[in-house]
């Protein structure tokens, strides 16, 4: 399974990757992005993945800004420290 991690803090991304590796060695993190722009660009250019880990506060804005510009039809797991974003995540069809 190919996963993409979008996270503005490198350590957190690495940590998440470590956790994923521990759960299942078959989960491969194929890309890291830290910004709305980089993520949008990659998916618009046809990046293929099975699962997206999406932090909400990114280096250049809020990850909800990705959706108007980019169609992403793979499952998304929102990862955030900000609980007030949860409601908005549901509205974007996220699952808690």
């Amino acid at each position: 399974m190919n996963a993409v991690i979008v996270e503005d803090e490198k350590l957190s991304a690495e940590h998440l990757s470590l956790l994923l590796h521990r759960i299942d060695k078959d989960i491969k993190v194929i890309n890291y992005f830290d910004s709305v722009k980089a993520t949008s660009k990659a998916f618009n250019e046809g990046l293929q993945a099975d699962l997206l880990f999406l932090d909400i506060r990114l280096a250049d804005g809020n990850s909800f800004d990705i959706f108007p510009k980019t169609k992403i039809d793979i499952p998304i797991i929102f990862t955030t420290a900000y609980d007030n974003y949860a409601i908005q995540a549901f509205k974007q069809n996220g699952i808690d």
Binding site: L11, H15, D34, V36, A59, D60, D65
Partner: protein
């Protein structure tokens, strides 16, 4: 104070009333409207205008709040002498107009001037009492206002002392670090504890030295660098830190602000400059706005301005252009 035109109309009205009252009282025999009637009006206007001007002039020299004793004496004496002298002059002119004689003192003058002295003293006493009361009330209001502002600023300051997310974010970083690099994790804990130690130590401090703030900032930046790596850099050039003070945590707040509002990505790292120039501390970064606007910092800057107001008249300057965001903090000198 009413504007000029209204002021003269108002005084003219008073003159009219005084003239209508005094004219029949002291110049019974003559017709009601004559040159004397007009002279009284003009004199009243001159006396009132002069009184107001003396009052304004004294107001600049001795304020009620700081030099009340001097003000009372100066106000009473100058206004009394001015009013009585003009009144005397008025009587003299009227007498001259009517009889054509230069009489330095005639019975009518005595008849008018003695009661007029008492009336003037009474009016002045009431006026002084009223002004004094007004100044006292005003100063009470100001004290209350400052108290409220100070309490509010302190509260905001406490609230802003490292927003709760700061601890959360850092703990989350720490939990990653513990797995990956134990030595670094220990350093990180030390730096984090130094940051909190500074906050606790300076919770009640009004001013801290620039050097202390810079040392604190170094710990804070260490934490940021662990989180954001090369995505944020600080260029710090401080030449003058001797005898320079500022309210605590201003620097940290400004550093935090830059991250709150700007892109700090791998593709677009943020470079923050901090330097001194002409007794000012300047924190500047290129404007690379995030697509989501966070609102929090305006209150932070406002609160910082408020905290500065307690110490100096010099104000914080915020220059926001399309290319650059700059905050200029005056450095406070202790005598």
């Amino acid at each position: 104070m009413v504007d000029r035109k209204n002021r003269f109309l108002y005084m003219f009205g008073i003159g009219l009333v005084i003239s209508s009252l005094f004219k029949p009282l002291f110049f019974k025999s003559e017709p009601f409207f004559d040159d004397v009637f007009i002279t009284i009006i003009i004199a009243t206007v001159i006396i009132l205008e002069g009184n107001l001007r003396i009052d304004t002039w004294l107001g600049q020299k001795y304020s009620w709040a700081t030099l009340p004793k001097k003000r009372v004496i100066a106000q009473l004496l100058s206004l009394l002498i001015y009013s009585l002298f003009l009144l005397y002059l008025l009587m003299f002119v009227i007498h001259f107009l009517k009889s054509g004689k230069y009489d330095l003192m005639n019975p009518k003058m005595r008849q008018v001037l003695i009661p007029a002295t008492f009336v003037t003293i009474a009016v002045l006493a009431i006026d002084i009492g009223y002004q004094f009361f007004k100044a006292w009330k005003q100063s009470l209001i100001e004290v209350e206002k400052y108290k409220a502002e100070s309490a509010n600023a302190q509260l905001q300051n406490l609230k802003n002392q490292l927003n709760p997310h700061f601890l959360f974010n850092n703990l989350s970083v720490l939990s990653s670090l513990v797995y990956q690099n134990q030595d670094k994790a220990v350093d990180f804990i030390n730096e984090l504890s130094k940051v909190y130690r500074y906050v606790l130590d300076n919770k009640n401090a009004e001013l801290v030295s620039l050097q202390e703030e810079l040392d604190f900032l170094a710990h804070y930046i260490y934490l940021l660098k662990i989180r954001f790596g090369e995505n944020i850099t600080f260029d710090i050039r401080i030449d003058e830190s001797e005898n320079s003070y500022l309210p605590p945590m201003c620097l940290q707040m400004l550093a935090e602000n830059t991250i709150q509002h700007n892109e700090t990505s791998n593709a677009n790292p943020l470079k923050v400059s901090i330097f001194t120039e002409n007794n000012r501390l300047i924190v500047s970064n290129p404007t690379q706005p995030r697509s989501d606007k966070s609102e929090s910092s305006r209150t932070g800057l406002k609160n910082m301005k408020l905290r500065y107001q307690f110490f100096i008249d010099d104000q914080i300057e915020i220059i926001h252009t399309e290319k650059k965001f700059t905050v200029i903090l005056p450095l406070i000198k202790k005598k």
